[in-house]
Amino acid sequence: MEHIPAPAIDFISLAPALILSVFGMLVLLMDLFAGKNKNLLVFASLVGLVLAGVSAFAPKALPVVSFGGSYVVDHLSVFFTLIFVFSSALTILLSIEYNPRNGIRAGEYYALILFCTVGMILLASATDLIMIFLGIEVVSICLYVLAGIKRGDVKSNEAALKYFLLGAFATGFLVYGMTLLYGATGTTKLAGIAEVIHSGQTNSDTLLLLGTVLLIIGFGFKVASVPFHMWAPDVYEGAPSPVTAFMAVGPKAAALVAFYRVFATAIPEIGTTWDTLLMVVAVATMVIGNFGAIVQTNIKRLLAYSSISHVGYLLIAIIARNSLGGSAIAYYMMAYAFMIFGTFGIVILLGEKNSENLEIKNYAGLGVKQPAIALCMTVFMLSLGGMPPFAGFIAKFYIFGAAIKEGYVVLVVIAVLNSVVSLYYYLKIVVLMYMKDSERELELSMGPITLAVVAIAVFGTIEMGLFPDPILQLTQ
């Protein structure tokens, strides 16, 4: 009986994911003894996230390739690990006051956020189709549960069900696409696929193309690009607000980085065949996202459409498929994290005791009654709309720069025009806050921790807008 050789396991590369898995299990165990008070769980989760963030810097001399080329730690993945850790920490902070108020009592909530973060970290480093598939599934399954964790609320149930059905449907397409890619090239490693395509030894080019199209469909569902965006507004509206903010940043960033890795490292050589398709998708995503947002009356639905349009901008970076594109996505997602968590912090702050108070018209008069909050909201809205001097402007600037370098001028012009359209609905909220009188008194629930999150987000949005260089250097 011959023995299987023991595989080499690179614990240092895996450190952030390992630490978070351990803390996730710890949180599960602690939940048994914690009783009704969840503060201990929150504390443990935050400690785990901080440790994971610190350990992301452990590998010396990037990039480190391990597990036979299926896992890589490079600047991109380290930076994305930071985004994920940061966004999960903010989600947990936002949940501290939101959850008891809205009847979310399960302590498993925190463990699921940690497991989801593990999935995202693995996804950012995965360079093997099987790893990418599993990473996406870990993230998705945690999110299905988190979307439905408000168990008494029919809206939350419905959001979970819709997300689940469409997510599982998309998984089918994604895995079929990966299968055809494997069949055409005979390997699941992204580098191997690129090599086979480069040497022209594919088993069948037609299968390769079919696989690429299916992958665009599958990833399109996961990042909510048109025409596979239908689930996003419903799910964003029905899910608990901190989870919505989480979904809009972390998992989307993770899916995008996997999208980028597959399309920019594995199949860039057949780029001419897929970039037209992806360009159509990107333009449609921007246009439908922005025009869909204009007619919304619910703030969470508006943010859902706005996040769809942001995916459109981000797809441009994938189409550019140069290293500039990768770091532009990273920078954009970091800036987007600040803006979205700030906005959702305010949405949660404006929630009342009995209702979440999500109608945009209720924001009228906020400029007089809560000038500080209105000012913060204005900063976020202007930044989301891409106005200087905020982070959103610089982020868009880098993406467009990456695309122009590759000569996609028309695409950039369309994106800039869309950006202008988007200002309409962002400014509508600002105008409403300052120019209109409120119809009724709001009983706001001002939680100090949520306020702190908003403050962090404002600081980040302005800081990244004024001094982009230090963070940009981290991404390269």
Binding site: E137, Y144, V154, F164, L165, Y176, Y182, G183
Partner: protein, 103 residues
């Protein structure tokens, strides 16, 4: 090489089942049946994976389809839990009745 089924026919079987699964998801309105259709899609993928493996004399595809099964099991458990938790608030499995949020 007579006596062997060409790889194409396995792929065709896989594609046919995949399309049947897609049709089931798009046309049926019973959540449980929609869910079963998704399982058909995943099964169809497994046929392709194993057929490619057989053709390439490799084991990666079988590991992949092993993982697909694992994911299917996880998805089923979560999905059925979601259906049960929803059934508690709203006793129906007809997708058309889930309309608080605009589809």
């Amino acid at each position: 090489m007579d006596g062997f089924v060409p790889l194409n026919h396995y792929l065709l079987l896989s594609a046919t089942l995949f399309v049947i699964g897609v049709l089931g998801v798009l046309l049926r309105r019973n959540v449980i049946v929609v869910f079963m259709s998704i399982e058909i899609m995943l099964n169809a993928v497994n046929i392709s994976l194993i057929a490619f493996d057989h053709y390439l004399n490799n084991s990666d595809g079988q590991v992949f389809s092993f993982m697909v099964m694992c994911v299917a099991a996880a998805e089923v458990s979560v999905g059925l839990a979601i259906i049960i938790s929803m059934f508690r608030n709203k006793p129906t499995v007809n997708l058309d009745e889930f309309n608080i949020l605009k589809w």
